[in-house]
């Protein structure tokens, strides 16, 4: 049931529908920029899944709330972040903390997390899922109202098996037997005491900086998908969906079905992508979805071997330039979605001491066990292979965490999924041109407004961080980490608490 409720944005009242995120409600009301960068540029949501922190605002008086992770509520106040006043009227009160005891703590409630939770709970373990979003499903099954068909059986199974869910919490610190979590809404800290941890934090989009990518209205490809599923109307809108990978087609399909006019811009060449034909032929379960996808995209303008070179606009993206084999094209747009594939989200794993490989993936054995006793990892953070793979890996992790041995058929399936994931990756190699789009004056670190020219001469990550402040902001480097400029820097970063920047642990109670 959707009701009309009243929220207050920077003092002005706004009527919005319930059951949607604050980001979505603001965008529907035409507010795409919610904050200003250190140099004063307007900024709005980029990833719409809690990674970029660009959508943060002061919500109900709490600083640093990621508005994409919080649903609107009656009477909610949303304010642009202002400097904290030097006077402190009232008393600082630390929120009451609680301890939750559970056998298995599952971090993330996407396919891997849900499957892991179901498997462990059905084998008699008490299970608690910790997830940043308001509801279960993760990025791929993000929804508004009722979950998508694929997700429903898992959510139902988890419910029947008695899985507890801590929705709206980030894991910010801890050790394998005790996780510290913080509410994304008000900063309340709790402890989760557990005997094993299954990390199912998935992946986030890879963003490659280009001129204009910081303009409000430029979002990730997956972000657009989430926003539309979350209720953002796109009917009649001109949208460019660009970047690389099969996600672009899925996003385009969704946008077209909602009435948008979509142009798809894929950087990979037709030749590269045709390499997918053989793995596809070997994978009958993917024939039908592939055909449906293809049919639904009839009439969509599509460019391959093409990429976005610049976005322009005042306060909001209005125009996009794309480089095609036929030359530069300039399109008038209402929005731009760009995503260059996925990169693993492995900060929690790193914080818990798990081994991370050079591409950022968590190293696991055949049983999804990391090198840290009692810590398992399943899904995209171990390798990008899609939701079917994540489900099966989740089952393996859940079964193993319950002290059982997974069947060899299940393990064989996981191996096959990996093969498919690698094939997709190979069919979409990033071309050099898209890695070098940012000019010296373009921002590469959005949190701290570090420009490409500033770190051009840097050798090490340490230098880029300490001298130029790259990665020193709220997102902790999550957004720029995927860019080639950062990959070229020497050294690695240690993950220290907080593993995710959370709202403060205390609030000011005004004197009564």
């Amino acid at each position: 049931m959707r009701d009309s409720i009243c929220i207050h944005v920077d003092g002005a009242s706004l009527r919005v529908e319930s059951h949607q995120t604050v980001t979505s409600a603001l965008m529907r009301s035409g507010i795409s920029a919610v904050r200003k960068s250190p140099s004063g540029e307007p900024r709005g949501a980029l990833c719409a899944m809690g990674s970029c922190h660009e959508c943060r605002a002061t919500v109900n008086g709490v600083r640093g709330v990621r508005t994409c992770l919080v649903n609107v509520e009656e009477g909610m106040t949303i304010e642009r972040e202002q400097p904290v006043l030097k006077t402190s009227m009232g008393v600082s009160v630390v929120h009451e903390t609680m301890s939750f005891e559970t056998d298995v703590a599952v971090i993330g409630s996407g396919p891997a997390g849900l499957a892991a939770a179901c498997a462990a709970a059905e084998l008699g373990k008490t299970v608690t899922i910790i997830d940043e979003s308001p509801g279960p499903g993760g990025r791929i099954w993000s929804h508004r109202g009722s979950p998508p068909v694929e997700a429903r059986p898992w959510i139902e199974r988890a419910r029947i098996a008695g899985v507890q869910r801590l929705q709206g919490y980030s894991v910010i610190d801890g050790k394998p037997e005790e996780l510290k979590v913080a509410s994304v809404k008000d900063g309340t800290r709790h402890r989760v005491l557990c005997s094993s941890v299954i990390i199912a934090t998935g992946a986030r989009e890879r963003f490659l900086p280009f001129p204009g990518w910081t303009l409000p209205g430029v979002v990730g490809a997956g972000a657009l998908q989430s926003l539309i599923k979350g209720g953002l109307p796109v009917s009649g809108r001109r949208l460019v969906v660009a970047g690389t990978g099969p996600l672009l087609l899925a996003v385009a399909k969704l946008a077209v079905s909602e009435g948008a006019k979509v142009v798809v811009v894929e950087q990979a060449s037709f030749a590269d992508r045709s390499a997918l034909a053989i793995p596809l032929l070997l994978s009958p379960s993917r024939w039908r979805p592939a055909r449906e996808l293809w049919n639904s995209l009839r009439g969509v303008e599509m460019y391959t071997s093409s990429w976005v070179t610049a976005a322009r606009g005042q306060q909001h993206v209005q125009e996009v330039s794309i480089r095609t084999p036929q030359g530069i094209k300039t399109l008038k747009v209402d929005g731009l979605a760009v995503g260059y594939g996925l990169i693993p989200e492995s900060r929690v794993a790193a914080g818990l001491g798990c081994e991370i490989d050079e591409d950022g993936f968590v190293r696991v054995d055949e049983h999804q066990q990391t090198r840290v006793p009692g810590v398992l990892c399943a899904g995209e953070s171990t390798g990008i292979a899609g939701s079917e793979s994540a489900l099966d890996e989740g089952l393996v992790a859940g079964i193993v965490s319950a002290g059982r041995n997974p069947r060899s058929r299940l393990l064989a399936r996981v191996r096959r999924h990996r093969f498919w994931g690698q094939a997709i990756e190979k069919a979409h190699p990033l071309r050099d041109e898209v890695l070098q789009l940012a000019g010296a004056e373009d921002v590469i670190c959005r949190c701290e407004d570090v420009r490409a020219g500033e770190i051009a001469g840097c050798v090490s990550r340490r230098e880029a961080r300490l001298i130029h402040r790259w990665g020193m902001g709220h997102c902790q480097g999550r957004v720029c980490e995927g860019s080639s400029m950062c990959a070229a820097l020497e050294g690695s970063d240690s993950v220290r608490p907080p593993w995710t920047v959370a709202p403060p642990e205390a609030r000011i109670e005004t004197s009564r």
């Binding site: 600083r63 972040e81 006043l85 030097k86 902001g473 709220h474 920047v501 205390a506």
Partner: protein, 409 residues
């Protein structure tokens, strides 16, 4: 005539300051550092960046004061974000007894010509409304401030084309006036200045080991946190009075701790370490929250220690927990057994100098230490009496301490 050539090992704030001092006399300077660039390791990278004329013995006070003078008048050009910013230090007394100690501190400061101003509890709140309302009072030292040390180290080295840097290399051996790298390269110079912080005695090999029998150098770990932008609710560097006491309580050689009435600051000699409130505003509109001290190399962030630090900060700035924290980290200060830096020639060697062991005051004292090293090496008259810091001081009563310079009265 060949241009004299000097070698500096360590491109932290102290080594970099030494390099600049020697280069500005027209000398050629080669800087060697194991890190990826200047100021990216050790205390320079991990420290808060405060420039504080600290209460302590008169010699330390003078070195701090000269350091501060030079930061104010002679810092290398830097962006506004990184340059010296005079926040002033506000030493805060929690209770009347500590306030009395601050009066003593003020007299000491006065004796070396440092201006300070006593502040009562009520004025304190006017000056810094975010402070707790029940604090007894404080002492304001106006010209103290903050510098961004990694950039400062870098700019010290950029200041002269006569400085050549070799980064990412490790030292195999240091001889008298000679440095041999593990990659086989050998550098020779008029003198070598070794400024590698905690590792300084190890890196000096035999000569270092001999010195280590007389004066030990050990790491003191500290925990720090930084808040998000937009949270600079303080204008001053806030330090609780008694910080010094807390600071030295982890040392076996420390001044004894007479007072027992202070609760959370003193855990004398314990392995669990001590914490004291030190909050430094930064030009990026953030607050750096500290600090802790415990013996040992910097380890991973210990959540309990971090919590103790922030709890202690909360005692003085009650709203501190309402500010989002972006990062936490640890670092180590290099402390000497007698609490004074080692600044001068290595006993037994003629052309090898040492500049280390500043224990948390390295950034404050770096320009003064570098000036002193230059003055002694070049045989100029010294601005400050160099003997309190001479590495040969433990040999005071035997012949090893021969005044090679008769320049200083």
């Amino acid at each position: 005539m060949a241009i004299p050539h000097f070698l500096v090992v360590g491109a932290g704030i102290v080594g970099a300051a030494c390099a600049r001092e020697l280069a500005r006399e027209g000398n050629r300077v080669t800087v060697i550092d194991s890190g990826p660039g200047a100021g990216l390791q050790g205390g320079t990278a991990a420290g808060m960046g405060h420039v504080v004329v600290n209460e302590g013995d008169p010699d330390t006070l003078k070195l701090c004061l000269r350091g501060r003078e030079l930061w104010r008048s002679d810092a290398p050009p830097m962006s506004e974000r990184d340059s010296y910013w005079e926040t002033g230090t506000l030493w805060i007394a929690e209770d009347e007894e500590t306030l009395l100690q601050l009066e003593g501190a003020q007299k000491k400061l006065e004796s070396v010509g440092v201006v300070s101003e006593r502040i009562d509890g009520r004025q304190l709140i006017k000056l810094e409304p975010a402070l707790a309302p029940d604090l007894a009072g404080g002492l304001r030292v106006p010209h103290d401030g903050v510098i961004y040390a990694p950039t400062a180290a870098r700019e010290f080295l950029n200041a002269s084309p006569k400085v050549t840097c070799h980064f990412g290399v490790s030292v195999k051996n240091i001889g008298d006036g000679m440095v041999e790298l593990t990659d086989g390269r050998i550098f020779e110079g008029e003198a070598v200045i070794v400024a590698t912080g905690i590792s300084v005695l190890t890196i000096l090999g035999e000569a270092g080991a001999r010195l280590a029998e007389k004066v030990s150098l050990y790491p003191r770990e500290g925990h720090l946190a930084i808040t998000a932008r937009g949270t600079r609710i303080l204008d001053h560097h806030i330090v609780e009075a008694g910080y010094q006491k807390a600071a030295h309580s982890t040392s076996n050689h420390s001044i004894s701790n007479h007072s027992t009435s202070h609760h959370s600051t003193s855990h004398a000699g314990s392995k669990s370490g001590s914490v004291a409130c030190a909050i430094l505003p930064r030009q990026t509109d953030q607050l750096c929250l500290g600090s802790s001290r415990r013996p040992g190399e910097p380890g991973p962030v210990d959540p309990n220690m971090m919590m103790r630090v922030i709890d202690r900060c909360e005692r003085f700035v009650p709203s501190v927990k309402t500010l989002p924290i972006l990062r936490t980290w640890t670092g180590a200060r290099a402390a000497t057994s007698d609490g004074k830096p080692l600044l001068g020639p290595v006993p037994g060697l003629q052309r090898t100098w040492i500049a280390a062991g500043f224990e948390g005051l390295g950034i404050t004292q770096a320009p003064a230490a570098a000036e002193l090293i230059r003055q002694r090496i070049m045989g100029e008259s010294c601005t400050l009496d160099p003997w309190p810091w001479d590495p040969a001081r433990p040999y005071k009563n035997n012949s090893a301490l021969t005044k090679r310079e008769s320049d200083h009265a």
